[in-house]
Amino acid sequence: MDIKTLYQLSYGIYIITSARGDKLNGQIANTLFQITSEPPAIAVSINKQNLTHEFIHDSRVFAASILSQDTPLSFIGNFGFKSGRDIDKFAQVNYKIGKTGAPIVLDHALGYLEAKVINEVDVGTHTIFTGDLIEAETLKSGEPMTYAYYHDVKRGTAPKTAPTYRKEEKEVKKAAKYKCTVCGYIYDPEKGDPDGGIAPGTPFEEIPNDWVCPVCGARKEQFEKIGE
């Protein structure tokens, strides 16, 4: 068994949202797919621990925004590495309420889908919600973000609750890297942090003190050195 096999599967990156009463929430997901064409239906896989899971389960609706390839890591961090139990993820975000009542994130979205839940399938840590497509719109042209691009080019990470979570984000090169103790993001001096204006080749020690983790916003002192 070679666990690296699983890195060869291709996915997009989406914001899945729902509402309960007048509370809105959303999270990042990679497992969203069309399951039938006539009538069009889609499915999404959500971790049972997530607040969005509760909202979809209770309200029976969800929406999905298809993220553009140039979405900043911090935007993904806001939805993917924080909990709606602690913060209002929609506070600084441009969105609208869709036909189903679910909020639709418009920032960095190429298009969106809305669905009414028709079935739930228990798959252990996650539930697959299947839904009839109620609405679909394209918002702008552009390349969608893929999980491979997010991981390999943007060097983003996955939280422990993701189906694609990798136990060891193994690092082999010599440069001293630092890992965020909050979200697992690794600062690699060879790559720098383009989103935060840190040029490639900048050692961790030379990053300004007000620099924050590009994924989750943690402070510099919350990083620790990774040993070889």
């Binding site: 060869q8 996915y11 069309q34």
Partner: protein, 229 residues
């Protein structure tokens, strides 16, 4: 409602294999996704009309092979546009029998997973099988084929039985021809790189022994595609 939004979803392209007693079959699928990490569970969405659907139902085992970006269209045509009711799709193909007994395609394969079916859900035209991983391995290094690369760059057609099927739209002016057998479209602007036909070659100038890159049909299986401007 604009269904083109669905075209922005991203998928890989896989050969899904299964067996019923001594018979093997397989097909091309995009609806393959990991749905949990511990244990590693997958969903595989299959059209109910396909023979592979019957086989998975009967044996409760399946494999999927992650196809390389370099996979020739003819290989995808073999598994995607033929029926195992008519031909033996595994004839001439390199494969092995996995721990579950499912056949695993090795040609053009970067990696594979084999799994036992633990649950299924009826979705109308399709069934989603929930399967727990039994074994997996990497076969070779390379970039995986994605559905959008297959569709947009290789110009591969989408089966009417696919969940992604949208009525083909012939939008541009160049005179295109469509294969009656597999509905693949010859686009002169693009040529047929797999068949060494350079971009800009009109259909009329194709050699008489030219064959459909997907299903192998001869040139006279092609009909002029009327413009829809």
């Amino acid at each position: 409602m604009n269904l083109l939004a669905l075209r922005k979803l991203r998928y890989g392209l896989y050969v899904v294999g299964s067996r019923r007693k001594d018979r093997f079959n397989g097909l091309i699928a995009n609806g393959v996704s990991q749905v949990s990490a511990v244990p590693a569970n997958f969903v595989v969405s299959i059209n109910k009309e396909n023979l592979t659907h019957e086989f998975i139902k009967a044996s409760k085992v399946l494999s999927f092979s992650v196809l390389s970006k370099n996979t020739p269209l003819s290989f995808i045509g073999r598994f995607g546009f033929n029926s195992g009711r008519e031909i033996d799709k595994f004839k001439g193909v390199s494969y092995k029998i996995g721990k579950t007994g499912a056949p695993i395609v090795l040609d053009n394969t970067l990696a594979y997973v084999e799994a036992n079916v633990i649950n299924e859900a009826d979705l109308g035209t399709h069934t989603i099988f929930i399967a727990q991983m039994v074994d997996s391995d990497i076969i070779r290094e390379g970039e995986p084929m994605t559905y959008d690369y297959y569709s947009e760059v290789k110009r591969g057609p989408t089966s009417k039985k696919s969940s992604l099927y949208i009525e083909q739209i012939a939008a541009t002016k160049a005179q295109k021809y469509q294969c009656r057998r597999c509905s693949s479209i010859y686009d002169p602007e693009f040529g047929d790189p797999d068949g060494n036909v350079s971009p800009g070659t009109s259909f009329e100038l194709l050699p008489d022994d030219w064959k459909c890159p997907i299903c192998g049909a001869s040139k006279n299986y092609f009909d002029k595609l009327e413009g829809t401007e």
